[in-house]
């Protein structure tokens, strides 16, 4: 999942997680200032410089368009465009702040959690959840195909698809049965590969450690956050008016 967004040289996962959460938190708290766009731009440039170009571009594009549409609808409902910029800014912020996490493969996050002696059952569960989303999606598609072969119209606008009896008997029950089957096979497979949940000292094949590059990234994000907090609560700089 999201493999197209993964950076070639990902950041240390826990630093990426902390930066992502803190930058979002600080951004949301200080979102009322127009300088939020400078903060977003700085984060964009930083992420591009650290090799997260694909994720940065896609999130900016997606959330930017989404934010403008949502902001326009809100402005039309409120009949004023005075604070129109706040909605796109918040949407962009959410999109940009998840970039460091999107660029990290989930396996790296679980590896670093393993190194920190996080219970292995928890890291196993996290990894399975992420890895199995496409598998489950494929299973759902197969169940839908099976429904179609039995004469149920499964197009999204078809009323037959939303009929409770069809949804319950022909979709939910087979889906749960299939999941029980998959989980039984998978747990047998995990156990037969000598997975021992009690052994916390198990070897991590590819160990992950923070480097100077990661600390530089964290420092720059912290500086951006500090500047935004100071602008919002201490300096309160006037925003230059744009005259057309």
């Amino acid at each position: 999942m999201f493999s197209q967004f993964h950076a070639r040289h990902p950041l240390y996962p826990l630093i990426a997680l902390a930066c992502s959460l803190l930058s979002l938190l600080v951004g949301m708290v200080c979102a009322q200032t127009p300088y939020i766009f400078a903060y977003i731009l700085f984060l964009d440039v930083l992420f591009l410089a650290f090799g997260m170009g694909m994720a940065t571009l896609m999130m900016n594009l997606g959330m930017g368009v989404f934010g403008i549409v949502a902001g326009a609808i809100t402005a039309l409902i409120n009949r004023t465009f005075d604070m129109f910029w706040i909605t796109p800014a918040r949407c962009l912020l959410i999109g940009v702040c998840v970039v460091p996490l999107l660029a990290v493969p989930p396996a790296m996050l679980t590896r670093s959690l393993n190194q920190l002696h996080c219970p292995r059952l928890i890291t196993l569960g996290m990894l399975i959840t992420v890895r199995f989303i496409p598998v489950v999606f494929g299973e759902m598609r197969q169940i839908k195909d099976a429904m179609r072969s039995r004469g149920i119209d499964t197009r999204w606008y078809s009323p037959a698809w939303y009929r409770p009896s069809n949804l319950y008997r022909a979709f939910l029950v087979p889906l749960v049965m299939r999941m029980v089957g998959i989980s039984d096979t998978l747990s047998l497979s995990v156990e037969s590969r000598a997975f021992d949940p009690q052994r916390r000292d198990a070897t991590v094949y590819h160990s992950v450690h923070p480097t100077a590059r990661d600390w530089t990234f964290a420092t720059l994000v912290l500086l951006a956050m500090a500047a935004l907090i100071l602008e919002r609560f201490v300096w309160d700089l006037p925003f230059p008016e744009v005259k057309l």
């Binding site: 949407c91 989303i133 949940p197």
Partner: protein, 185 residues
């Protein structure tokens, strides 16, 4: 009271969490809606349903918390605040349910836990909504009070319906010998 989780318990919870995450995608079109709790209203039926099935299979204290953690993990990469919403909601719902029923032996304990989980995510999403939509607490208290009340009632009803459906599916699968509780293994 507390029992160790086996590998097969965790694998089942994780696979079901993947299913639940896909159903959570139903909330995507209303993610930016300013109507408080609408996102929960759209998904609560399926979350309560799969939450019930998860506890019916893994009858152990801590199941719902772990389930919330696994559901929250993919969300961590998309909307980090939602991770805490699901995880903390599951934890609080589990504590309340176990304080009342002590264990998950009865169907009503299972249904209470899974429906309470979804109901609790509504107040837990208040700070999220304030940050995300830029609304204030006053907005929920005054302007949209009737809307908020209606959504909360909807969430309660749909969560209970989801939990009851989950119990029904679990009972059917158990009768067919497909969903044995993990303690019986």
């Amino acid at each position: 009271m507390f029992k160790k989780f086996k590998v097969r318990d965790i694998v089942f919870l994780a696979v079901l969490a993947a299913v639940n995450t896909l159903f959570g995608g139903l909330a995507m079109p209303v993610m930016r809606s300013e109507i408080f709790g609408l996102q929960t209203l759209v998904t609560c039926l399926f979350y309560a349903l799969f939450g019930t099935i998860a506890i019916m299979k893994v009858h152990k204290p801590g199941t719902l918390t772990l389930y919330g953690l696994f559901i929250g993990f993919p969300l961590l990469f998309m909307a980090p605040v939602m991770f805490f919403n699901n995880f903390i909601g599951g934890l609080i719902a589990e504590v309340i349910t176990l304080a009342i029923f002590r264990k998950y032996d009865e169907g009503k304990a299972v249904a209470t836990a899974s429906s309470l989980w979804m109901i609790l995510t509504v107040p837990l999403s208040l700070p999220f909504s304030i940050w995300f939509n830029g609304s204030s607490f006053e907005h929920f208290r005054t302007t949209a009070a009737w809307q908020t009340a209606l959504i909360c009632v909807g969430v309660i009803v749909l969560s209970v319906v989801g939990a009851v459906l989950g119990l029904k599916i679990a009972a059917e699968l158990r009768k067919a010998g497909k969903l044995r509780p993990s303690e019986d293994d």
